[in-house]
Structure formats: structure tokens, C-alpha cells
Symmetry: C2
Subunit: 214 residues, 2 copies
């Protein structure tokens, strides 16, 4: 029975729900330091468990990181959903669609800048599209970030704010633009921009996208 600095000792031989505990700790680590910071030994330490115990639930470190990654993607989805939910109801349907589309982008960017560690982890050795649609990476509404964007684009088309001809594959193009800004802002040469400047850049970027979509 290993003593624990964290004060969280255990009286039973069994942990109870180690897998879940490791996931929680992993999220905590990723939040603070990105994917590389989710370290098996540290996770087991915080869970008051021997290092090897982790291997009963994850075949290797990468599997834990992957699980954390899906959870992080879910948190991203949730953050975007919250941004959408906070929107005022607009009577003009086209205006509402446009507002929702913009909120999808700004929500994405806000999460990236608020939780850079989780954001980076969400895209760490990420799954191909099929797995990215797993329920774990969805928000409360059951939609992944990708699907939220797709829905916003559909709205745009139905309100004639976007040419239907451009619709196929458009999520990937829009996603690229927004994701690129997010990456440049948190890791790249735009890192350290003031909030107001970053917001301005986000605004201008979405303007540009809207113009290119029309």
C-alpha cells in the first residue's frame, strides 16, 4: 500500500474505478501541459496506485492520451454549444444563421485560447473522421465540433447566404481557416497577442470566410 503525497490514500486493495480516475488525472495533466504532460507514472501517482496498474486499463501510454484526447474534443464541443446557446433569439432567420455560424467559429477559438493544453491534446495524433464522430467527443447535444460546423453551414445554405455549389466539403475549408488561426495563436507566431487583438483577428478572419463562401 503505497503512501501518497496527495493525501488520497486507499484502504482497499482494489481502487474501485481506476480507469476513470486515470482519465480524470490525465485530463488534468493535459489541461496543464498538453499531450506530452500526460505521463503514465505521474497519473498513477496521483491515483495512489503503482505505475503498472495503469496497464490493466490502457495497453500503453498512447491509449490513455487518446482517451484524454476524445474527452478534450468533447469539452471543445460543449464549449461551442454553450456559445451557441448563449445567443439571443433573432427574428430574422438569415441573420440568426449568420450569427450562429460566427458563434461556431468564435467558440472554437475561445476554447483554444482558454484551454490551450486541452485543445492541443484534442488534436494529438487524432483519429480519422469516423472515430472523431464517436459519442465521447460530442457535447451535450450529441454533436461533435465538426458536426456543429456542418449544421451551421447547412443553415447558411438554406438562408441563401452561401452558394449550394460550395457546400460539399466546405466544412473542411472553414475548419482549416479557424483551426489555423487557433494554432498560430496558441503555439505559433501569433502567440502572446493581446485578447483584443486576437478577437479582432478572429473577427476579420470570419469576415473573410463569409465573403469567400457567399
Amino acid at each position: 500500500m503505497p503512501e501518497q503525497a496527495n493525501g488520497a490514500k486507499r484502504d482497499t486493495y482494489r481502487h474501485g474505478n481506476l480507469r476513470h480516475a486515470l482519465l480524470e488525472v490525465g485530463i488534468e495533466l493535459a489541461r496543464a501541459g498538453g499531450p506530452d504532460a500526460v505521463v503514465l507514472r505521474e497519473a498513477t501517482r496521483r491515483a495512489s496506485v503503482a505505475p503498472n496498474a495503469a496497464y490493466r486499463h490502457f495497453p500503453r501510454r498512447e491509449a490513455l492520451v487518446h482517451a484524454v484526447s476524445l474527452a478534450a474534443m468533447g469539452q471543445l464541443a460543449r464549449a461551442m454549444e454553450e456559445g451557441l446557446a448563449a445567443l439571443p433569439a433573432l427574428s430574422d432567420r438569415a441573420e440568426a444563421a449568420r450569427t450562429r455560424f460566427r458563434a461556431v467559429g468564435t467558440g472554437y477559438l475561445r476554447f483554444a485560447r482558454t484551454e490551450p493544453g486541452l485543445f492541443r491534446t484534442a488534436f494529438y495524433v487524432p483519429d480519422d473522421m469516423t472515430e472523431a464522430e464517436a459519442t465521447v467527443s460530442a457535447g451535450a447535444g450529441g454533436l461533435t465540433p465538426f458536426q456543429l460546423l456542418g449544421a451551421a453551414l447547412d443553415d447558411l445554405v438554406s438562408c441563401e447566404l452561401m452558394t449550394p455549389a460550395r457546400r460539399p466539403g466546405a466544412e473542411f475549408l472553414v475548419w482549416s481557416c479557424v483551426h489555423g488561426l487557433a494554432v498560430l495563436l496558441i503555439d505559433g507566431p501569433l502567440r502572446g497577442l493581446q485578447d483584443t487583438q486576437a478577437d479582432q483577428a478572429a473577427h476579420d478572419l470570419i469576415d473573410m470566410i463569409e465573403g469567400g463562401l457567399r
Copy 2:
């Protein structure tokens, strides 16, 4: 005098130019496996030198990775320049500007997909803007990727293919879009796309950007 599997033994106690050798090996490692693959011990091994010798030239591993990163950025610049140089001379000035602008983007994306390890390394814990303009990260023409893009945008404005009002800060927006697609293609959910599909996406993305800029 340590034996070396690599066959490259040394008869002098001094290496000669270890710093340069480590950089070369570092680039090789980054090329094959990205920034995380730039491992001090392996680099010194390949340079036929004791692990600690590296510390005479780089205070810590991160410093070596950083040097490799600048070199990788330089290679990116060179690749873009080559793409520009290969363009046919067009009589119509506006058409030429447009073609050059597109070539900047496609060159960037081609390098990302051709040399993903180096591309990822180029953006690993990257410098802020000022250092990114260092001569190391420039191509043969002395311009960094960022500056190449800026020049292309200036051309667009002077040919009235872009509103001057949109010019300030536009490189960051365009950069975001192209960079985002690059990241999604090599690391993200678009990884594993066929060449033709990736080219199509690149084409469509640049179309969209052009539309948004006008």
C-alpha cells in the same frame, strides 16, 4: 574514443565542427520523426561523440530543436521560392500576381505534405514574429515564408485584386487558412487523404481565400 556503428569514426580528439554536425543530424531526425524525434543522445551517437559533448554547443535539448526549427523554416521558404521561380512568365500583370499568390499557398502546402516532419518542427514552440524573420529561416532570396506571403499580397493590392482596406494584417488571416489546412492534412482528421483530394482541397481553399479578400 568511442566506436561508432555509423562507421564514421574520428581520429582527432576534437570533432572539428560538432555544432554543425549536430544540426545536420538534428534535421535528419526531425525530417524522419518531427520535433520529438530530435533526441540528444541519438544525435551525439550519430556524430560519434559522447552525449555530453552536445552541451558544449547547446545549453539544453530544446536549444538544438530550436536551431533545427529555424533551419526547417528556411527549407520551407526555399521550397516556396522554388515554386514561385517555376512559374511561367505572364504578360497580364494581374494574372501574374494572382498566380504568384496561389503559388505561395500551394508551395506551403506541398512542403507540409512532402516533409511533414520538418514542417511540424518548423512550428515547434516557434519564436515570436521578430525572431521568425531571422536570416536562418529565410530562403535563398532572403525572405521568410511570412515575407513571401506579404509580398504576394502587396502585388494583389497593386493589381486591384484586393481591397487596400483589407491589406493590414491580411497575411495573418491568409496564413491561418493555409496553415490550418496543412495541419489538418498532416496531423489531423484529413490525414491520409489521397493526393488528388488534397490538391482539390487546397485549390478550393485558395479560391475561397481569394473570394474573401477581394
